[in-house]
């Protein structure tokens, strides 16, 4: 995206930008301190990796040090176990940003993340049968 389109650029003749038209007030990766990849462990969260709150999270003092986006993600995880994709949609943040923020939460011990089942070990017949029955019952 062009930096000029988010304000600070030259005035456009014949109109001003308002609200959403002006683009996001905060550039997405500003929330991650400019990082586009998760921290040192460099995990790449799958879209359907499930994020759960850690049973033994750091204390309130440490939580107080988290940024607002970290905290809203944590609140969403507390409400229910969610996939990375759902967290991004609910927090209204791009997936790339959510991955970086989740990396922070994982490293500081606030959440745990499930690894999706690798294709080679994909569902035994019993699970697929369960899926089919579940779909029929929808």
């Amino acid at each position: 995206m062009n930096e000029d389109s988010t304000g600070g650029g030259p005035a456009v003749p014949g109109g001003q930008w308002y609200d959403a038209d002006a683009g996001p007030l905060v550039r997405p990766y500003a929330m991650t301190g400019g990082r586009t990849r998760p921290g040192p462990s460099n995990v790449r969260f799958d879209l359907i990796a499930l994020v759960v709150v850690d049973d033994d999270p750091p204390g309130a003092a440490e939580e107080g040090l988290l940024g607002p986006e970290h905290r809203s993600l944590l609140a969403l995880c507390r409400a229910e176990t969610q996939s990375v994709a759902e967290l991004a949609a609910d927090a209204d943040l791009p997936v790339g940003v959510v991955r970086v923020l989740l990396g922070d939460l994982l490293e500081s011990g606030f959440v745990r993340v499930s690894r999706p089942v690798p294709p080679a070990q994909l569902p035994d017949e019993r699970i697929l049968r369960e899926v089919i029955d579940g779909l029929r019952a929808l």
């Binding site: 995206m1 990796a49 759960v52 049973d55 229910e80 994709a85 745990r112 994909l122 017949e125 779909l135």
Partner: protein, 207 residues
């Protein structure tokens, strides 16, 4: 649809990774306007998902970035939906972005996918060729679902299968993407087929 809380929270493996809850991924692909969003929406609670992706080389050729040197990422919107089978077992559907320049997203989406639905419109059958090729090459189980638009001539599943030159056994299902039961049937056919493919591969690997 009610979202259930996963029962997996108490059984951590200790290394920050938890493997008890199971999430399966199904892709919904096909040409522009063929009904991908409609299908995902008819069987699940659909939500829009934004990704902020680095522009691929292919994307740079298509997107005119002249004079905008800073542009290295682009926002891609996808649809996704979740179907909760039971606590700890969910099915996630992803509508793949139709434009060719987003192929790089497909690679990520298809990793670990259980299978794919290729939606087809018999009036523009060629629109689904890229998706058929993609899944055939990567040996990802897929079914072709012919979205029967009103006013379109109806072809039999066999005719569509021949026109697409599908591998033997690849299911072709006639459907109405707007209809929940019809959409469910498409997914059921896919899961059954994925199961058969999986078993066949296991037999191959031991035989």
């Amino acid at each position: 649809m009610a979202y259930e809380r996963s029962e997996s929270t108490g059984t951590g493996a200790g290394d920050g990774v938890d493997t008890t809850a199971l999430a399966l991924k199904i892709l919904v692909a096909g040409g522009f306007g063929v009904g991908k969003t409609t299908l995902v929406g008819s069987v699940s609670e659909i939500r829009p998902l934004r990704t902020e992706e680095r522009l691929s080389r292919a994307g740079e050729l298509v997107d005119d970035t002249g004079g905008v040197d800073q542009k290295t990422t682009t926002t891609v919107a996808m649809d996704f939906g979740r179907i909760t089978i039971r606590s700890g077992l969910s099915l996630y559907l992803f509508g793949t972005p139709g434009q060719d320049r987003f192929w790089f997203l497909w690679d990520e989406l298809s990793q670990g996918a259980l299978g794919a639905v290729v939606l087809a419109d018999t009036r523009r059958l060629e629109d689904c060729f890229p998706a058929v090729d993609y899944f055939e090459h990567r040996k990802i189980p897929f079914v072709v679902a012919v979205n029967c638009f009103t006013g379109a001539r109806t072809y039999g599943a066999h005719e569509v299968s021949r026109a697409l030159d599908l591998d033997r056994g690849t299911p072709v299902v006639l459907c109405d993407a707007r209809d929940r039961d019809s959409g469910k049937e498409v997914l059921i056919r896919l899961v059954e087929y994925a199961g058969r493919m999986h078993t066949a591969r296991l037999l191959d690997s031991v035989g």
